[in-house]
């Protein structure tokens, strides 16, 4: 045998496939990764500290900037935390609107995430372009209802900022017509393709016990075969009235994560259809008329969590009775899902490492905060 020498490579922070400014300190033996240390913090924006000098409402647009793919889901988590603290009732209609927006977010996140994942595998943007096309449609809807495409800032304590505009429902129904075709197409591109199977099957296996030990959540955890979804485990909002299935994987590799994401898009579409059917009967307006914008929660702390497309997003707030949070902590799913990266990559090739990182579906804005 020839003597081989280990080589240390810095993948990032300026690297095309690290999904932002993220550094992986990789030790490679030939093409095999023998060690990997994720290094983050390059995008630290002092989010939590800023939140402590803002009033509760002023933090709402900052939560958009956490995971900028899923602004609506972030808003929901934060709004729920403050509502729980102050005890604001959310009208039924507002809850339906919230669920509608969050499930649309889930579709757009998965469409984008799968596209980026295939890009990491080396495809030349096509799958990403298809995903982005559907994402654009959803963003158009978000824009018409909230005024912005990404930084929606749509949720308020006690409801949502405004009701649906008149042209929203017809466009949404058109979108739902296109959605099965899009998901089927994505599945045809991803599921049977021999090259993708080679690149994803058996790659980046995260065993069930290890996933639980790292407290991973979201599609990564479900891909490892744990049927844990906060929408079912601790039903919030109106999820206990909606029918949907939880897809889980069996092996815990990249392929399982792809399959779980594809199926979650289908389930989200199912939820949206139920919401459209039930929305006209929902009571109340889009916002609780008694809800004040300037809240002063009683002294105490609260933790509220939701199932965002990336996993469990939780907000832990401590109030000292003033109009500003005393402590504001984000449990960011991307951050926690990223921690087992070293264990997932060890023993695979350099090319797999990039794919595994892509399959976790991180957004650095949320990881570094």
């Amino acid at each position: 045998m020839l003597k081989t020498e280990e080589l240390q490579i810095n993948i990032g922070p300026q690297h095309p496939s690290t999904h932002g400014v993220f550094r992986m300190l990789v030790t490679v033996d030939g093409e095999t990764v023998t060690d990997l240390k994720p290094v983050f913090g390059y995008l630290h924006r002092n989010h939590e500290q800023i939140a402590e000098v803002n009033t509760y409402l002023q933090n709402m647009p900052y939560t958009d900037r956490l995971d900028y793919f899923n602004a609506m889901a972030n808003n929901q988590a934060y709004a729920m935390a403050v509502e729980k603290m102050v005890g604001i009732e959310v009208p039924e209609r507002a809850e339906y609107l919230r669920v509608l927006m969050v499930e649309l977010t889930r579709i757009l996140n998965h469409a984008g995430a799968l596209g980026f994942l295939i890009n990491d595998m080396g495809a030349w943007q096509t799958q990403l372009a298809f995903g982005m096309r559907e994402r654009e449609k959803i963003l158009d809807l978000f824009e018409s209802v909230s005024g912005a495409r990404l930084m929606c800032n749509y949720f308020r304590f006690g409801g949502v900022a405004r009701d649906l505009p008149p042209d929203f429902m017809p466009r949404l129904k058109d979108l739902l017509v296109a959605m099965p075709a899009f998901v089927d197409e994505m599945e045809r591109l991803l599921r049977e393709n021999e090259i993708l199977l080679q690149r994803s099957e058996g790659i980046g296996i995260l065993p069930k016990d290890l996933a639980l030990a790292y407290s991973v959540t979201g599609p990564v955890l479900r891909g490892s075969g744990v049927a844990y979804d906060i929408r079912r485990a601790e039903p919030y909002s109106i999820y206990d009235r909606l029918d949907f299935d939880i897809p889980v994987g069996s092996v815990g590799d990249v392929y399982d994560r792809i399959l779980v994401r594809i199926e979650e898009m289908r389930q989200s579409r199912r939820i949206i259809e139920q919401v459209i059917a039930q929305l006209p009967d929902a009571q109340g307006g889009h916002i609780n008329p008694k809800a004040r914008q300037n809240v002063r929660p009683p002294v105490g702390d609260v933790y509220a969590r939701v199932e965002t497309p990336k996993g469990e997003l939780g907000f832990y707030l401590v109030s000292d009775g003033s109009s500003k949070p005393y402590r504001y902590k984000v449990r960011a799913p991307s951050f926690i899902n990223l921690t087992p990266l070293g264990d997932m990559c060890r023993g695979y090739k350099v090319a797999d490492m990039v794919v595994i990182l892509g399959s976790i579906d991180i957004v650095m804005g949320e990881v570094d905060r």
Partner: protein, 443 residues
């Protein structure tokens, strides 16, 4: 070209120059034309690729510079010319400088044996095919030089990958061509094209077939399998998706080109796109008859050729135009397929690429060579060669039997190898699990 020069200088002007001077002038003119055409191909192909792949992605593509973006490559060229040329301080200056030249030069050489139309070949070498592939592998040296001289880890990894890939995919490419060479019995590219007259069946196999210029090798099982294998190998040679591993941007930034900028970077791109054009061209020549197509053969028969000195020059022009048209149509068609594949697939991993090349493509091409032998025996051999039972069959019958036998053989081999290969991949996956377990336990 030399006969034209000879005609002009010695016959029209009556200067009586020696033949070496005539040959020199003729080759210089041809070389000048080719050096003009090669970068033009690159410019055109970049635009073509961008527009085509944009359509596949429901976009429009570059359409701002000039009508329908026609001058976009020129704008890119101006930009790349005016960019600063950065050489890393730690780089080996001279090797870093020479590497792009070493990569570009072979691709230019390869034009020397490429026939564009009937009678339009710079040099009709009787070893043309061998020359083409021998020269094409020289650029691997340039890639290695580039990667090594850059003194960058990504560049080094990229160069290693590039060389490994090029060297391993030369083998299936040449093996698949070997089957065709066995059928034609010649390594001359011109002879290869001439063999492909006919209609679905080559006139050389069955003389009674009308010559529509459609007796391409792709219509025989041997040729079809060789085409598949060769085209896959060509994708790897030309570093196209799914084999663009040496410059996998999501892994190793830009591979061996990482530390290059300005026109040196442009030269790598030039070499790559010219190589892609040449690979598409050679695919269309070997398997799709090159300039062969309905009408070209008939037109060329009326033209002035060494065989027919009483022809009309207008038929030379017509046959040339139609031939070049067919040739470029097929070539750009193959480039579209390359773009199409790039639009549809992800990239393989380097070890999977090696697996695929050595464990699947090479056995497949070996089986194909066996099929080619059967084909040659059934269609050409007689009692003298030991195949007495085919003597009574008509040429069409012999062709049909050869077709059926080779089809069954090739299809069976393909399905068998696909299954074997898939199983071997599964086993490899499980091995990786064990490696992971070991490594996790150690750590």
């Amino acid at each position: 070209m030399q006969d034209v020069v000879n005609q002009v200088i010695n016959t029209s002007f009556g200067w009586g120059w020696p033949s070496w001077a005539i040959a020199l002038i003729g080759y210089l003119i041809v070389a000048a034309i080719l050096f003009g055409i090669a970068p033009f191909q690159m410019l055109f192909l970049t635009l073509y690729e961008r527009r085509a792949i944009a359509r596949m992605q429901d976009r429009i593509g570059p359409n701002r510079v000039g009508p329908e973006g026609a001058f976009q490559p020129l704008a890119d060229g101006v930009k790349i010319f005016t960019k600063e040329d950065i050489v890393p301080a730690a780089a080996d200056q001279w090797v870093h400088f020479i590497a792009p030249c070493v990569v570009v030069a072979p691709t230019m050489f390869m034009f020397a044996v490429l026939p564009w139309g009937p009678g339009m070949v710079p040099v009709d070498m009787n070893l043309g095919l061998l020359f083409f592939f021998a020269i094409s592998s020289v650029s691997a040296v340039g890639l290695m030089m580039a990667g090594w001289a850059s003194s960058n880890k990504f560049a080094l990894v990229g160069a290693m990958r590039a060389v490994a890939q090029m060297v391993s995919y030369e083998i299936p490419a040449v093996l698949s061509l070997l089957a065709i060479v066995m059928v034609t019995g010649s390594l001359s590219i011109v002879e290869l094209i001439n063999y492909q007259g006919g209609l679905f069946i080559s006139t050389r196999d069955v003389a009674s077939v009308p010559d529509w210029g459609l007796g391409w090798f792709i219509f025989s099982p041997v040729g079809f399998l060789a085409f598949i294998a060769f085209f896959i190998a060509a994708l790897a040679e030309g570093e196209r998706t799914p084999f663009d591993i040496p410059e996998a941007d999501s892994e190793i930034v830009a591979g061996y080109m990482t530390e290059y900028s300005g026109m040196k970077f442009g030269l790598f791109y030039l070499a790559q796109y010219v190589l892609n054009f040449l690979l598409c061209a050679i695919t269309s020549i070997i398997f799709f008859g090159g300039w062969q197509g309905p009408g070209v053969g008939w037109l060329y028969a009326q033209a002035i050729t060494p065989a027919n000195l009483q022809g009309d020059w207008i038929f030379n022009v017509l046959a040339g135009v139609l031939g070049v048209f067919y040739f470029l149509l097929k070539t750009y068609g193959f480039f579209f397929v390359m773009v199409w594949i790039r639009g549809a697939y992800a990239r393989l991993r380097i070890d999977q690429l090696m697996d695929f090349g050595w464990k699947f493509l090479i056995p497949l091409t070996l089986v194909n060579i066996f099929s080619a032998a059967i084909w040659v025996g059934l269609t050409k051999w007689g009692a003298a060669d030991g195949l007495a039972f085919v003597e009574g069959w008509s040429p069409l019958m012999r062709w049909a039997v050869a077709f059926a036998v080779t089809l069954i053989l090739n299809l069976g081999a393909y399905l068998f190898l696909a299954r074997i290969f898939a199983q071997s991949q599964d086993e490899r996956t499980r091995q990786d699990d064990e490696v992971l377990e070991q490594l996790t336990n150690v750590a």
